[in-house]
């Protein structure tokens, strides 16, 4: 069967199945199980209304349970077993991981990423939001800064690889970074992506480039929500534009800044495509998600791979708890 045909069929079956399920489940509930007539009509309506939410929720609950909740426990289980998931080995996978230089290299890179990318993206986003908010071509400027958000991480890697491209000394450089570097008096063209440690920053630039637009959009909405009278009061008191920005506006949107920061943090913890495409973790640029992928699918070691996945999960957990805590607070 041709995949495109299969796709159309899947859409029809999927959508039709969903509609059919919801329609007939409701029908059965109202007409067959608890009909709203006869001597027990009142009790039946109440019973049907108790069950109905679960009918509505069932497909979503099954999908969420199977595709997101169950894997957390299955991965935990796998991380305590050997390569193929057959024999229980306790903490041996974690112990082995701790002895691997590549793991610590990944931890170090991820730590760097965690500090630099959210900070730089938020800073650029804030700057862009403030600069574009009151100029007549602001919305065009916003669109263009926001645009990389639509580009895949792999596509962005190709784009940036051209920037970092290097040609032998003496020939024309086609990567703009080397061209600028040489024009500014650099001695020889550099292999930017192969300089240990510093290459991490060249990889991070790609993600900052993508995420700044996201930060800008959210922060720009928050900036517009800052009450005018607080700003007017500051102007009357003789504050200059910088003071207004840093002492009046930024403190008032701190909550949003934290939201942006944590959202980007989660993206950073899962960063995989960029590293995979640009260096594949060579030259000391390994990150956790790519380390995990290598363990799982290159080395076929499900135990250590799952242990690495659990490390990512552990790093995400504080944000998870914080989000849930805030969501519950808001619901009350």
């Amino acid at each position: 069967m041709h995949p495109a045909f299969q796709a159309v069929l899947t859409i029809v079956v999927g959508v039709g199945g969903c509609i059919g399920y919801f329609y007939f489940a409701n029908l059965v509930l109202d007409k067959v199980l608890f009909p709203a007539r006869g001597p027990q009509a009142g009790r039946n309506i109440n019973r049907a209304n108790m069950i109905r939410p679960w009918l509505f929720l069932l497909p979503a609950l099954i999908a969420l349970g199977l595709y997101l909740a169950y894997p957390v426990f299955a991965t935990l289980w796998l991380s305590l077993h050997d390569k193929t998931g057959e024999t229980f080995v306790g903490g041996a996978n974690y112990a082995q991981m701790m002895t691997e230089a590549k793991f610590w290299e990944s931890m170090r890179s991820n730590a760097l990423w965690l500090v630099v990318v959210p900070a730089a993206s938020t800073a650029f986003g804030l700057l862009a939001a403030q600069l574009t908010d009151r100029i007549w071509w602001g919305s065009i400027a916003k669109s263009l800064i926001f645009m990389p958000m639509a580009i895949s991480f792999v596509g962005a890697s190709v784009i940036w690889k051209l920037i970092y491209d290097v040609r032998p000394a003496g020939t024309d450089q086609i990567g703009i970074l080397n061209a600028v570097y040489l024009a500014l008096g650099g001695d020889a063209p550099q292999q930017w992506l192969q300089i240990p440690f510093w290459n991490n920053f060249f990889l991070m630039a790609v993600l900052v480039w993508i995420q700044s637009g996201f930060a800008m959009v959210i922060l720009s909405a928050a900036l517009r929500g800052v009450p005018e009278d607080t700003i007017e009061a500051a102007i009357l008191d003789g504050a200059n534009p910088f003071q207004i920005f840093f002492k009046i506006k930024v403190p008032q949107i701190m909550g949003t800044i934290i939201v942006v920061w944590t959202t980007i943090t989660i993206v950073v913890l899962k960063v995989f495509d960029i590293v995979r495409a640009m260096t594949n973790g060579q030259w000391e640029s390994q990150v956790l998600a790519n380390y995990m992928y290598d363990k799982l699918f290159t080395a076929s070691d499900w135990g250590v791979g799952s242990a690495a996945a659990m490390v990512i999960m552990a790093l995400v957990t504080p944000i998870l708890v914080w989000n849930v805590y805030n969501a519950r607070k808001e619901m009350r």
Partner: protein
């Protein structure tokens, strides 16, 4: 704010200038690749894309002379041209790789094997000898030539219609569509019903479920790879499109439910209660009132999910096979970066084909995307 900015023209200028600089910085990388994708391989390799509009002087790769020998006035002559119709102008040339700029255009050089060679500005050459050159290994010429800017669609033609085996971008494009369209549509309906229940139906455990959805929003899908692959193998799906669709549906649901629930919960209570008083069932309220009113939120999520599934690499790498029937664009691009890393004409055109659709969706539906982002970031 306007009045203080207005009172200081210097500040206004500074704002405009810095905004322009920032935008330029953000557009520049994409622009570079875009322009490169229309340049010829030679030009990409010999000069930066920012110089693509100027005439370029570059040393051309060695060209071995060829042509028919004729006898003229007792001398054996081969006439020919180094390149056909490229519009290049030769300034210096040579026949030895150690001294490729030994002669000016129009000069005649005596070759060590006894022949005389003349190369003119336009690339026409004359090789003459007193003996026949039939058995001669023809000399190579190194030319330094300036070429006018050249733009071409050949790169796109090559990657789409004449790809090297296993690198078919056109096929990958269709595969990506095949992955992303069902994976965008299917979660919407499932999520919409669940979101309605979480927003407007009273039942025990509702708050807990909402909290669980918020929690699942950030669970890394990395954890799901092996367990789900095992599960798919167990139920007999294995690696293939069905597995990818299911996986994307599962991974997309938390955001879908979260976005839609927030939106639906914000709808006016009156409408729903009036409908209930009039005897509408929950099912009718949902399909006739809530679903049409939630269109903006549905659109937001659809765009997110489409961009995400189109741009995804990891899920496709794990849940799809690596045959040409199942390679998506991101995977193909990754392979190209590995195998044809230096061939920018191939890479840039392929990359642009892969980002064209998301960019079009982005610019056409930006309004909904922004709305979704604002609603979706956990406040």
């Amino acid at each position: 704010m306007d009045n203080i900015a207005g009172s200081k023209p210097a500040l206004v200028w500074a704002v405009h200038l810095s905004a322009a600089l920032l935008v330029a910085l953000w557009v520049f990388p994409t622009l570079g690749l875009f322009i490169s994708s229309f340049r010829t391989a030679d030009q990409i390799a010999s000069s930066g894309w920012w110089r693509s509009l100027s005439t370029q002087e570059a040393q051309m790769p060695a060209i071995r002379l060829k042509g028919e020998e004729v006898q003229r006035d007792g001398v054996y002559v081969i006439d020919g041209t180094l390149f056909d119709g490229a519009g290049a102008t030769i300034s210096r040339w040579g026949f030895n790789s150690k001294d490729p700029e030994a002669y000016a255009a129009g000069e005649t050089a005596a070759l060590p094997t006894g022949e005389a060679l003349t190369v003119t500005e336009t690339g026409a050459f004359t090789l003459s000898s007193t003996q026949t050159m039939a058995d001669l290994r023809m000399p190579r010429v190194f030319a330094t030539a300036s070429t006018p800017p050249q733009f071409t669609l050949n790169n796109y033609d090559t990657v789409l219609f004449k790809p090297a085996p296993g690198q078919s971008v056109g096929k990958a494009f269709l595969n990506t569509l095949t992955v992303s369209i069902p994976a965008t549509i299917i979660p919407i309906l499932i999520a919409a019903f669940a979101a309605y229940a979480l927003a407007w139906m009273e039942f025990p455990g509702r708050a807990l479920l909402v909290a669980a959805v918020v929690g699942l929003l950030v669970v890394p899908l990395q954890l799901a790879l092996i367990p789900l692959l095992q599960f798919h193998n167990m139920i007999g799906i294995g690696k293939g499109y069905l597995g990818v669709w299911l996986a994307h549906t599962g991974f997309g649901l938390p955001l879908a439910i979260y976005l839609l629930r927030n939106y639906m919960a914000g709808l006016p209570r009156d409408i729903i209660e009036n409908a209930k008083v009039d005897g509408a069932t929950d099912f009718q309220i949902f399909t006739k009132i809530i679903l049409p009113l939630s269109f903006p939120a549905l659109a937001s999520f659809a765009i997110f999910q489409f961009l995400w599934t189109w741009n995804d690499l990891l899920v496709a790498m794990v849940f799809l096979g690596t045959t040409e029937d199942q390679m998506v664009l991101t995977g193909t691009l990754l392979n190209l970066m590995g195998s044809r890393g230096g061939d920018w004409e191939i890479l840039s055109a392929s990359a642009f084909i892969s980002i064209a659709v998301p960019l079009a969706v982005f610019f056409a539906m930006q309004k909904y995307l922004v709305r979704g982002l604002l609603a979706g970031s956990v406040k």
